[in-house]
């Protein structure tokens, strides 16, 4: 329970509701300073995992610790320095935003009441602070949720779909806010369906499917593992495509509007360039293209790829062995998200 303890560390987390396995031996390692994306399709077990992290529900097995403290054992003390919301922030509709924050500040203590004006300013709700939350739009409630979290001056911010229901400007502002908070040293655990948002913000991710982690590690490593793609323009794209298809180690070669696309390891690209030169085909441009998070997400969570592509960045420095990813066989039962 020292300051060196990681913000979130989960080991073998299981949640079972009768016959339904919502979370199946999830391991997570959120490090200090991470902007950590927590991804998965609906029903994958993300929200259930976050609820267990916040001590709202009891794991069937396993343990989750926040800064080294298990919420079940330490109660509210485990949430010191932790803030956020799961499945959308909820407030008392018959109270104004300010009164809601006053209530939450009273439940926080530690001078939180003195920060109300400040956090209302941050989320730009000051002009509407005296209006009842019952009349607020979804986006305004999301912003109020952020304000309520900031009241606690968190070191770890847990956000479950914070951009849901926001308009494009609101989503942009939310991204800026999260980036700004991360820049101030706050660790962010971000559960989101907005894959471009996660790709833009997060440095590490966990992808869950059917209640299990199918990848955990650095986003950059995941994208590298996804296979490097290349785009090439030549003096003779038709001939280049023929040569690429004939070359060992070059996969998925195809021509498109912007030249020839293929996937290959770096050394095979070198071989191809020599072959092209030997055939008298000049290379005008050769651009590496990393797979997008969206491509990788669907590869990991859909069809055969869901289980067949279980991967991790376990080779990366500092990664805990068991926490890197689950390597157990595919679960036969489909997990559903409860609550």
């Amino acid at each position: 329970m020292s300051d060196e303890a990681p913000p979130v560390r989960a080991r073998g987390l299981v949640k079972r509701y009768d016959d339904v396995l919502a979370v199946d031996h999830i391991d997570l390692n959120v490090r200090s300073g991470d902007v950590y994306g927590f991804l998965g399709p609906n029903g994958a077990g993300k929200t259930t995992t976050l609820r267990m992290a916040l001590g709202l529900i009891t794991p069937t097995e396993g343990v989750v610790e926040l800064f080294g403290r298990d919420p079940l054992r330490y109660g509210a003390r485990a949430l010191e320095g932790v803030a956020g919301f799961v499945e959308g922030p909820r407030f008392y509709p018959y109270l104004s935003a300010r009164k809601n924050l006053e209530l939450l500040a009273a439940l926080d203590g530690d001078g939180a009441a003195g920060r109300i004006d400040e956090v209302l300013e941050v989320v730009e709700l000051s002009p509407r602070a005296r209006h009842r939350v019952g009349g607020y739009s979804h986006g305004m409630r999301q912003r109020l949720g952020i304000a309520a979290a900031l009241l606690r001056r968190p070191r770890l911010l847990i956000l479950d779909e914070p951009a849901t229901g926001l308009d494009p400007a609101g989503m942009r502002d939310m991204r800026q806010l999260i980036r700004g908070l991360a820049g101030e040293g706050i660790t962010v655990l971000l559960s989101s369906h907005q894959l471009p948002e996660v790709q833009d913000l997060c440095d590490r991710v966990a992808i869950v499917d059917s209640g299990r982690v199918v990848y955990e590690g650095a986003l950059a490593d995941l994208r590298r593992q996804g296979g490097a793609g290349y785009r090439m323009r030549t003096t003779d794209d038709g001939r280049a495509l023929e040569l690429a298809r004939a070359q060992t180690g070059i996969d998925h070669a195809a021509s498109g509007a912007h030249g020839v696309h293929f996937q290959a390891q770096e050394r095979d690209v070198g071989e191809l360039s020599l072959a092209l030169a030997g055939a008298g085909v000049g290379i005008l441009a050769l651009t590496p293209e990393l797979a997008t998070l969206e491509d990788l997400f669907f590869r990991l969570t859909e069809g055969n790829g869901a289980q067949g592509s279980q991967a991790s960045a376990s080779g990366s420095p500092g990664e805990d062995g068991p926490g890197a990813a689950s390597s157990a066989p595919a679960p036969e039962e489909r997990a559903v998200e409860i609550g």
């Binding site: 609820r51 926080d108 730009e124 908070l181």
Partner: protein, 293 residues
Amino acid sequence: MSSAAVSSPAAAAPRTAHARRPSTLTVYRWELRKLVSQKRTYLGLALVVILPLFFVVFQNVHQRHDHGADNIFASQITQSGLATPVLMLLFLSVFMLPLAASLVAGDIVAAEDGNGTLKTILTRSVNRGQVFAAKTMAAMTYAAVAVFLSAGVATVAGIASWGFHSVRSFSGTVVSAPEALLLVFASNAIYLIPLLTIAGFGVLLSTATRNSAAAVVGTIGLVILLFIVAQIPGLEGIRPYLVTEQFENWHGLLRTPTDWAPIAHSAWVCALYLVPSLFAAYLIFLRRDVAGG
């Protein structure tokens, strides 16, 4: 959420290792403030205020003096305003005051569950035990407010209509007006013993069912059920141990000399209901999964 605002220091400074956490009293105060802010809170209070007023107005309009000899306070209704709160307690104690207490007790946990706000308050710096204690105290405070508000309105309306005069007690002895006033409020305080037990049962149902309507109806259903049980021939032996039979425990105060036996009996009988109810509710609240909202 402007980019300029992002650099606000609000989130910058890390908290100290062990921040001072709020007291249960703080949580309780906010529970009361939440009750005060909700319209439904006033429904129960309106019921127990309107009925005494209606009774006094009706009596004034009809100018009835003979109310039968079955109740000594009924026969004194126009002789002293202090008979009014006693009669009102007699009438309201059976159903209306338990109903008012149930409206809040049955709602106090379940409503938060339904609205999803339970997760909001349980992810702050207070423990579940504190939240439960504060909610229970708030529900019981409401029940007490309902009882004394009703008694206050009935007393003021009665005195305004028929004056501040001495009354005769159940034993037939004359009690001076100031002493009778004191006894009126003491009787209401004694009546709180079974009423708070009903409220405690409401809190249990509210915690266990997570459904406001089920908890409120269930609590009132229990009151009705116990009244029915009390009427079943052959079950006379258990009648003294039913909570609903304790609703008349305060009669002992209005006898000369004061009969403390029914009050003491009611205290331990109610404790037998209240303590296990609240303990069960506490355990459920502590261990439950907050998966709603």
